[in-house]
Assembly symmetry: C2
Amino acid sequence: MRAARPGTAFMPETITLSVDAMGGDHAPDIPVAGMAKLLELRPETRFLVHGDEARLRPLIEPRPSLAAACTIGHTDIQVGMDAKPSQALRRGKGSSMWNSVEAVKSGAADAAISAGNTGALMAISMLLLRKIEHVHRPAMTALWPTARGRTVVLDVGANLEANAEQLVKFAIMGEAYSRAVERIEKPSIGILNIGSEEMKGHEELRGAHARLVSGAFDLDYRGFIEGNDISMGAVDVVVTDGFTGNVALKTAEGTAKLVGAFLKEALTSSTTAKLGAVIASGGLKQLKERMNPSNVNGGVLLGLNGLVVKSHGGTDAVGFATALRLASRLARSHYRDEVVSNLFRFADLAETRAAGEPTPQEDLA
Amino acid sequence: MRAARPGTAFMPETITLSVDAMGGDHAPDIPVAGMAKLLELRPETRFLVHGDEARLRPLIEPRPSLAAACTIGHTDIQVGMDAKPSQALRRGKGSSMWNSVEAVKSGAADAAISAGNTGALMAISMLLLRKIEHVHRPAMTALWPTARGRTVVLDVGANLEANAEQLVKFAIMGEAYSRAVERIEKPSIGILNIGSEEMKGHEELRGAHARLVSGAFDLDYRGFIEGNDISMGAVDVVVTDGFTGNVALKTAEGTAKLVGAFLKEALTSSTTAKLGAVIASGGLKQLKERMNPSNVNGGVLLGLNGLVVKSHGGTDAVGFATALRLASRLARSHYRDEVVSNLFRFADLAETRAAGEPTPQEDLA
């Protein structure tokens, strides 16, 4: 089971994941089942498991290899799925969510993972881990299935708005994230906009475009893209404000669900259709697998001094394992060092500018 | 062929449609083929056809019933598919697009239809037809296929932004439009937002929400909805700004296309899958029909003194006929009278407010 994976020349580094075992619609069962799944794939993983020990032990102990990899940190407190961020900050101290993030802050773990309330997790993470220097607003990522693979979209809801400078920082963070997660050497970047002529997008989009197109950042920036380009995989990283990104993501989820429902209806509409569906079931299973949201589960709040992965609240064991794997991959990568150095570069440029030396294309901004 | 349609007690009223026969990717063939299709369904329709007579005659004359229903208005000028709105205003006078809208202004036709450049059509329509009193910004509609039927979404790109008052007017216009097109007695309305707690949406969304929830407008307002609710058909009318609406619409189109491509791959992935697909072809054809964008073709620029329908530029004959039918249905309806009276009601409320009499829930706005 511990055979080296292809392309891994050295013993895999041990990664410690800090898991909020009480967050999500089906906790603690799904988090525990997800940990067991990841362990099959990455036996070198270690877990700090935060939650109600009395409920966790009966789930973990029957799995000897999981039990060997886990350290339970008991707590009675948990953040409710409908808690407001302010409530989570006031009353969440010592909760399974809080403790899972705290373990990243203290250095006991490489990453925290929670399927709990998004707003609460963002608030607790920002409070405990603080923002990286030069980041004014963190951004939440999503992995979006496309015709060419997967695309990183950010921000999908950490903030309502973003100005030009923040969008440029989203591009810098998203690019490093894409390289770490998707292992693309030089990810391409686009800004989400609408195609209408003579009023091409909000002022902040045009400002971010002018800064990125200047070439000052050594990014493969491809310009504006439109909504339909996301699913086509036109770029590896889609930059947008949190409001637009959240609407786009949920609209796509709703559309995929609708088409799936139409397909199901179509394939049960007659006896012949049903028979055809049975015969084509291999291919249809492949389709279902490609459309399975569990395969793209896991969003990261980029821009913090520490790694926190948000799993979908209603995910299954496969989905939770996907989020854990994402955390593990990111923990191994150097994306945060890259983000930090790229952001400093950005800040240097801004200082140069402030000192009166024009940067290329500056007049466009 | 002229048999009364179910529910039509009287002889159908003759509707005259003014068609830009030179607009769109496959003009004039597709517009002419679309007119022929509509005429089969609505033989009482009359057409004013604007475009190059030398190209139109050979297409129209071989179809005797179409020829009898058409009057060709010759012009050599046409607005290019990539013309900017400002160019269209400067150089578009006398073009097929211009003349088709002009015929609505003069009263010669009940509605204009064009598959040409969207920005140019909006600019020409606004110039010639002018806005209805109390409308500051017109809104472009889209019909969105849902699990329950179709939903009206507006604005999908006429404006980049919308303030609270404009969003309320979009709700008023969209509701009357939904009643006219979908024949729903009391369409339900939602405002597109994101679900994140404690920062529920932009200020303008909260402002529009407060005004609509006050009940002052006799609308079936259901509150905020999220992106995934659109395709589920949660409400009959979705209100949003043009930027967000455009991104959502194009994202949904891209997603549907992607799922379609995945399905095609899945059903050609093996000989067995192919066989199953052949057997299930009846059901799959039904699915294809439901997903066919031609069935929802046609956007209307609401808020003008006259009816202009924008067809998708790349549509086929069925799609162009759908846009013509939409125009015909709207021309028969009283939606513009309703819009006008509802907008006046809104203005009265605003005046009452200005005079110091508080309206219900005003403090929330």
